[in-house]
Each structure stands twice: as structure tokens, then as C-alpha cells.
């Protein structure tokens, strides 16, 4: 545990002000982030935002130009260290040797991690590949390769799981099964970092979200914290009693309502004013037939934080 403060050893991953430069372009710029055991952290960002580079830095495949990294209490990159066995990684667009069968592939990786062959059987079962285990990987569909990739990442009950775009190519049912496995692992104390650009599916399934844009970490926190940080308005959709539209609109004039439908008014407000608005609205009594509060979704929050990106400028 050389030169890593004790407070950081408790974290699965600690990034302190790291930067990685390719030529004059900073692929990762001043990123500080901590991942705790049992936490599921989603890493969001456009292609080229630095998500994959960040994972490669955590895996020790590349070294940061500035800053320090501690992974499971050690600087990453020492292939001889036993902590390597406690890390699982699923690369983006995972590839295997086409001539080997799924079972042979998994056994090959299991041996490198010093895991018994019987663990492969369990894992193939778990990702639903038992039936195709003895077919050549070359015959596998994209989803099957992805599942084999997940199986190899799960070898040895990793304490840290790094998953780069793990659900691309999986159909909705497999996606559900995938997140169930992730939740099980997190419940068992493993830290999970997964990158994605599929936003909506992450809303319910991760504990914390980090947003990257052009190499920088532009936001990190729970969905509620991000929502507050984003400062996006909350909308009240009010169903007005028949014939009462005009009087209600007058009463709410200070809140600048707009028409949402024949019998609907929409009032937007800052998150901090939510209760005040609610009190005014409920003060109108029977004129309000129903009301719906619409919180900004992850899509809106993500767009807010990455708005200054120029799409297509950087591709990885």
C-alpha cells in the first residue's frame, strides 16, 4: 500500500486530480472521483468524453500524466499484484478468439485468474450461455459475446467491476438479467463502475452518476443531487375544473402559467420553490381537479451538463 493514505484504502477506487494527455489534447482532465465498496456508479458521456480512457487509467493500462490513482488500495498497473485478480473488466465491443468455444475461452481466462474450471460452469449458467458453451465463439451473436464478456469479468467474484458500455447489443430481457447480476454483486460489497450512453435504463439501477464532458468530470452525485445541481425547472401540470381556466390563470399570474391543454395549465418553478408553489396551488381549492409534478429526467439533466460539447468533434 505504498504512499496511499489510509482514508483512500477504504475506497475501491480513488482518483485524485488525474489527467491524461494525447499530444495537446487532454483525454482526461483534472478528474477526482471516489468509488466506494458496494456502490454502483454510472459514468455518462458522449463518445470521446474520456470514459474509456478513465477505465484504462484505473486498470493501469496507461499511466496518468498528472494526479494519483489508487485501486483497491494500490496504484494500478502491477500485473504481479494479487489485487489484479480482484478486478473484473468488460471492454467496449469485447472480442475473443473465434476458433475457441465459449467454454474454452472462459477456462482460459479462469486459469489466468487462478480460478477452478467449475466456476466457469456456474458463470456460463448465470449469463445463460450453457447451451451454446461448446459452440465456437465465431458463431456467437453480439449479445452472446457480450454475455461471455460479462462472464469473464465476473470470474473470481471481483471486488471492483469496470464495465465499458456493457448493455449494448443486449435485448431488454437480457438487460434486466444483467442489472440483476450487477445489483447482486453490489449487495455483496463489490464496487461497480459502468459507462453508458443509454441514460434512461440507468435511472433506477445505479446509486450514483458521474457525467463526463470533453475529458472533465462535469457532475457527480445521486440523481437527486444532479437534478438540484442542474437547476432545471420542475413542472406542475394542473387540471382545472370546467370553466374556471381564466380565474385560475389570473390567480397564478405571478407564476407565469402557460396553457398545456384545453383544461390544463403548466407552471414551472425552481426546485427550491416547489413547496411554495404547491401551497399556492392547493390554496385554490376545488378549482384544481388534479395535479401532476414532473421532475426533469436523466436525459434532460445529461443534456444540461453536456450542452457545451460539440457533437462529433471527438470520436474514440
Amino acid at each position: 500500500m505504498n504512499a496511499v493514505p489510509a482514508t483512500e484504502t477504504a475506497n475501491a477506487v480513488t482518483l485524485s486530480g488525474i489527467g491524461k494527455r494525447y499530444g495537446r489534447y487532454w483525454a482526461v482532465d483534472q478528474v477526482s472521483l471516489a468509488l466506494r465498496p458496494g456502490e454502483r456508479l454510472a459514468l455518462l458521456g458522449h463518445n470521446g468524453a474520456g470514459k474509456t480512457t478513465l477505465m484504462k487509467l484505473m486498470l493501469g493500462l496507461i499511466r496518468p500524466d498528472v494526479g494519483t490513482i489508487a485501486v483497491l488500495g494500490e496504484p494500478p498497473g502491477d500485473a504481479a499484484s494479487p489485487t489484479r485478480r480482484a478486478i473484473g473488466f468488460l471492454p467496449e465491443n469485447v472480442t475473443f478468439h473465434d476458433a475457441m468455444t465459449g467454454r474454452e475461452t472462459l477456462r482460459f481466462y479462469a486459469r489466468l485468474k487462478h480460478r477452478p474450471d467449475r466456476e466457469c460452469r456456474t458463470l456460463l449458467d448465470r449469463v445463460g450461455l450453457s447451451a451454446a458453451a461448446d459452440h465456437r465463439v465465431g458463431t456467437y451473436s453480439k449479445g452472446m459475446r457480450q454475455r461471455l464478456g460479462l462472464a469473464q469479468a465476473l470470474l473470481g467474484d471481483p471486488r471492483l467491476l469496470l464495465l465499458d458500455e456493457p448493455t449494448t447489443g443486449l435485448d431488454p430481457a437480457l438487460r434486466e438479467a444483467f442489472y440483476a447480476i450487477i445489483s447482486d454483486l453490489a449487495a455483496g460489497g463489490s464496487a461497480v463502475l459502468l459507462s453508458s450512453h443509454l441514460l434512461t435504463e440507468l435511472e433506477e439501477r445505479t446509486d450514483r452518476i458521474a457525467v463526463m464532458n470533453q475529458g472533465r468530470l462535469v457532475a457527480a452525485g445521486t440523481l437527486d443531487q444532479l437534478r438540484a445541481d442542474a437547476g432545471l425547472p420542475i413542472e406542475f401540470r394542473l387540471r382545472i375544473a370546467e370553466g374556471r381556466l381564466a380565474p385560475v390563470a389570473d390567480a397564478l399570474a405571478a407564476l407565469a402559467p402557460r396553457r398545456g391543454g384545453p383544461l390544463e395549465l403548466v407552471v414551472a418553478c425552481a426546485p427550491a420553490d416547489k413547496m411554495a408553489v404547491l401551497r399556492i396551488v392547493t390554496g385554490l381549492g376545488a378549482d384544481i381537479g388534479d395535479l401532476e409534478i414532473v421532475l426533469p429526467g436523466l436525459d434532460a439533466i445529461y443534456t444540461r451538463f453536456t450542452a457545451d460539447a460539440i457533437p462529433g468533434e471527438v470520436t474514440s
Binding site: 496507461i62 489484479r84 478486478i87 473488466f89 489466468l112 485468474k113 487462478h114
Partner: protein, 276 residues
Amino acid sequence: MTALVTIAVKELRDGLRNRWAVTATFVLAGLALALAFLGSAPTGHVGVPPLAVTVVSLASLTVFLVPLIAIILSYDSLVGEVERGTMLLLLTYPVRRWEVVIGKFVGHTALLGLAITAGYGTAGLAITATGGTAVAGQWPAFVTLIVTSVALGTAFLALGYFISSLVRERATAAGIALAVWLMLVLLFDLGLLGFLAATEGRGIAPGLFRWVLMLDPADIFRLINLASFAEVRKYSGMAGLPALAQVPTPVLLAGLGAWIAVPLALTIAVFSRRSL
């Protein structure tokens, strides 16, 4: 160490499965048999010549063919996996980079050794079985031929690995590999011959010439096989070679060993610094 063995075994199994080893064995055995049984046709008769003659013709074949087979096998060993993306995942495992290089190299060497031994061995057995005049003294020459063929192939494997560690794309590696092969098996000798002819043999001091030959693994291979055994020298045109011009066999073998070890060490040095 177990990681190294795991990688070597996988590489060997890959080569056996994709029929690479079988194909190479058949090519080598076929050519060896053709040379053995038809090799004396130009002299006017078809029959089985002494094993020593086969050694001479096989050595000439080996010098071109085995390096080509070896370098085709190895040029994409590293860059191919980097390009396909399998290397990225492999290096996140508890495996040191030198273990990846040596593991794959050992697997490929075993594959090549298997193909050469099976191919030439078959031919050798066929010659004796059909009544070839296998004088007892000629067998060591034949065994030496097989062992040094494997060593020559291994040297070109190492060169292929080194090329593979340097470049970014498989196609580049393929081009460089073919250029290196042509250079070492053909152009080096042609250049040397041309130089000697132009200087009327006085360009290189006689004592130095034999050491110049050490700069090419193919020439080391020729010297070992064509000049080391008295029985073979009779047929290889090396009988008149003065003792002075000869390099002791252990030195030749060490030279071949250096042609394996140096490129391999360079490969590890380069690959360890490569970022993925």
C-alpha cells in the same frame, strides 16, 4: 509462470486447431520426400541417394521455406491481437507483458518444431525404409538438420515478434516481415557475393569473412549443415574448405541462439512500453 504456460498451451492449441500445423507439416514432408526421391533426377537416374545428399538438398530448401513459414506465423502475433482487441482484455489479467510475449512465443515455437520434426522426420524414415543407404554416420547430420531447422525457424519467429511489437497495423507488419525475409535469405548473400566479385575477393580479409556470415542466421544455418559433417561436405561442395575458414560448431550454434534471444529481448522491451 502458470500464466506463461496457459498462454503457450492456448497458442499451440489454436495452431493445431486451425490446421496450420497440419498444413505446414504436409508441405515440409511433401517437399522433403520429393527432394529425397527425385533429387538426383537431374544427374540422369531416379533412385534413393544417400541420406547425406538429402541433407544437402533439404538444407537448401529449409533456408528459404522455414524462415518464410516462421515469419508468416509470427508477424501478427502481437499487433494482430492488439488490432482485434483481445490484447486489451488479456493485459488487464494478472499477467506480465513479458509472460504474454514469451508464452505466445513458446507456443509458436512448439508448433513450428512439431511441423518440422514431423515433416522431415517422415521423409527421413521413408528414405531408410525404402532402402536408402543410411550409413550410420549420416544420421547425426540428419538430426542436426532437423534441430537447426527448428532453430532457424525460431530465429525468424523472434524477428516476426519484434516486427509485430513495433508497428500499429497488421498490414505494415506483413510488409516489413516479407522484406526482412527476402533480405536475410537472399539479398544479404547476393550483396556479399557482389561485393566480393567487385573487389576480386580482396574486399574482406579471409579471417573476417566467416564472421561476416554470422550476421545472417540463414548463413549460420548453411555453415552448420553443409560444412560441419565430413560425409555431407563431400556432396555440398564444401570439401575444399580450409580449416582456417571454418567457425567451430558451438560458436555457430551460439550465433543462431543470439539470433533468437536478441530479437526476443527487444520485443519484450518494446512491448512493455507500448500503450494500448
